[in-house]
Symmetry: C2
Subunit: 375 residues, 2 copies
């Protein structure tokens, strides 16, 4: 996602995060356990007495739990226009919780965290991470708040897969589900892209088998990974309108052979620089691979059979025509699986021009769908 | 293009190439000259007495002049099914010439060639390369054969841009033109992709400012560049059918963290390994940048105005709906430019599933269009 990443330093002054301790030991879906692990989360709105008004939001690959500004952290959140009093996700009615994914690096336990058994960072000794584990992290966060059943779970991109893993693992733990620009199983195109992104990091000499230092991260690999992300998060048609063949930004001009010449290169450069500072490479590798591996149907005999056991009362599936990474056909198939499972489902194919990242940009259209669904 | 690249070694035994000397000095479009330069080409069929039955083919970024097998070189060519007696490009009627692009590394002069002034390879001392120079290389090849006017010039991908540069520079030098999956000016999406491919090579420590050695080329950069090429040459929908979520090929299994797990990764790996052995990195950088820079409209006041001066009598523009790299809207706009220039033009939008590379695969549908056009 093209969301603004915020370096951890800034969080020292403004920090709205809370931390939910995970059960100790915390069993990982593919084996291994975590000790003393935790999930970073933020909340907006109030939990009601019946504890039945909670909305749990899972993020895409790279954002933190800071989906929305608040008095404790007034900086803009990654879904600022979607959440708030009277907004599509209405904090006058709902208690909204957004979790930083297990395995990420914005406060939840991940490969960059200290392993309490050794006092050193986990790095590659972190156990295999699955989308299922990220879902369990969110589930346990709700339980730590005394919430047995969510009103709705919502997730875009990776989050659109996590909500399915949540439904598969915790029957009855949510009434409703919203999957946005997600998929029931990664497509070969998405696997191709992500495996090339990972290869760029793995083959960067500075990766050093995961033992890179803070002052010398695998910057080349991370830069290429991020630029490829940006390339596939938007759409070619949007870029024609937005950048065309304009020349490179003056402040990003470089000397030397094959220096950037076009504005689109400046755009990628700005995002790449920000990402190298903000995101941990090993965390990136773990979460990226987890996305490749996810396959809802492995939880039963078919997607529909798995969903039929989930206890979900209503579902909303949103997709975007211009999304090259999570194709609309995948969201359509998912909506059909929900319907086949006997769950009343609304499928909303949107023809936004902004590609996979449309949910971050076209707040009006996504908000209309989500707001109408939440009722 | 996903065509089979053939290492130069194999050419020692079977080689159908001829070499056209370029005018000495050969002026480059953006400045500088080449001395003692040449173009490698192959031919099929016979030039008639009037010398008016020549078809000139320009290639995509990476193929050699070997478009078709012949007694001198019986190995399969990159457009094997398209050219031959009774084929769409009928060698019973036409004298077919395919040129290796100027700047490439399969016999034509390029950055990997020896600079006669120094006795050492050009590398980055090679002058700036433009699509216009590649067009001139083909033009001069025809002249060296005594051909003043081509019957038809044909080019797919990069070649689809080169034929436009040919039309702009050499009015009257061809009667007809076929542009396949090309564009009149690179789109920001294509520039983004290519600039990331180049960055992977430029930041590979083994690139060494272009002074890499034969035994240690920038293999990581070339691997990533090729895998990204393969990813954007086909379509996500084709890969669902072809690979789905099948596991990695047994002979390509690896040990170690983040090893490949899916068949799509094996496919990319096979192509990447072949490419690293076959293609010169500096040549790749030069041609790739030339594609970014090309803009037909720079030859006059508008594309239509430029084309109106070309002396072209008829044009065929083919594009593919599933092409993410050279979008169908670009071919449609080009066909409109031809029509606006007063040139009878057939626009053939094909709904092939194979993406940008469809012209290499769906020989039937492309052959039907080309054959009907050639009449």
């Amino acid at each position: 996602m093209a969301t603004r990443l915020r370096p951890t330093e800034r969080r020292e002054t403004h920090d709205a995060r809370r931390f939910a301790p995970l059960p100790d030991p915390f069993p990982m879906w593919r084996g291994g356990v975590l000790r003393g692990a935790r999930i970073a989360y933020e909340t907006w709105g109030e939990l009601n007495a019946a504890k039945d008004n909670a909305i749990l939001i899972f993020t895409g690959l790279s954002p933190p739990a800071h989906a929305k500004s608040s008095p404790e952290d007034p900086s803009e959140g990654w879904w600022e226009g979607m959440i708030g009093p009277g907004f599509a996700i209405d904090t006058n009615r709902y208690f909204v919780v957004c979790v930083n994914s297990l395995g990420s690096c914005f406060g939840s336990t991940g490969p960059a965290s200290t392993n309490p058994a050794t006092g050193a960072p986990y790095r590659l000794s972190f156990p295999d991470l699955s989308v299922e584990d990220i879902a369990r992290g969110g589930y346990e966060t709700l339980r730590s708040l005394g919430i047995e059943r969510a009103n709705t779970i919502i997730g875009p991109s990776l989050g659109g897969m996590v909500v399915l893993a949540f439904a598969a693992q915790f029957p009855g733990a949510t009434r409703r589900l919203v999957s946005i620009s997600g998929t029931a199983a990664a497509s070969p195109f998405a696997i191709a892209l992500r495996s090339i992104q990972r290869e760029a990091i793995l083959r960067d000499p500075d990766w050093q088998g995961g033992a890179y230092t803070d002052d010398r991260p695998p910057a080349t690999g991370m830069r290429i990974a991020r630029k490829l992300g940006m390339m596939t998060y938007r759409s070619a048609a949007e870029w024609v309108e937005r950048f065309g063949r304009q020349p490179v930004r003056d402040d990003l001009r470089e000397e030397g052979p094959f220096a950037p010449e076009f504005a689109i290169q400046s755009y990628l450069e700005v995002h790449a620089r920000r990402f190298v500072r903000a995101f941990d490479p090993n965390c990136y590798l773990y979460i990226s691979r987890a996305m490749d591996r996810f396959d809802l149907s492995k939880h039963g005999s078919s997607n529909a059979e798995v969903l039929a056991r989930s206890g979900i009362e209503r579902a909303l599936v949103i997709g975007v025509e211009s999304d090259m990474l999570f194709a609309l056909r995948e969201q359509r198939a998912l909506a059909e699986d929900f319907t086949r499972a006997g769950i009343p489902t609304h499928f909303a194919p949107l023809d936004c021009i902004e590609g996979h990242d449309s949910f971050l940009i076209d707040i009006k259209r996504f908000g209309d769908e989500i707001g109408a669904f939440l009722g």
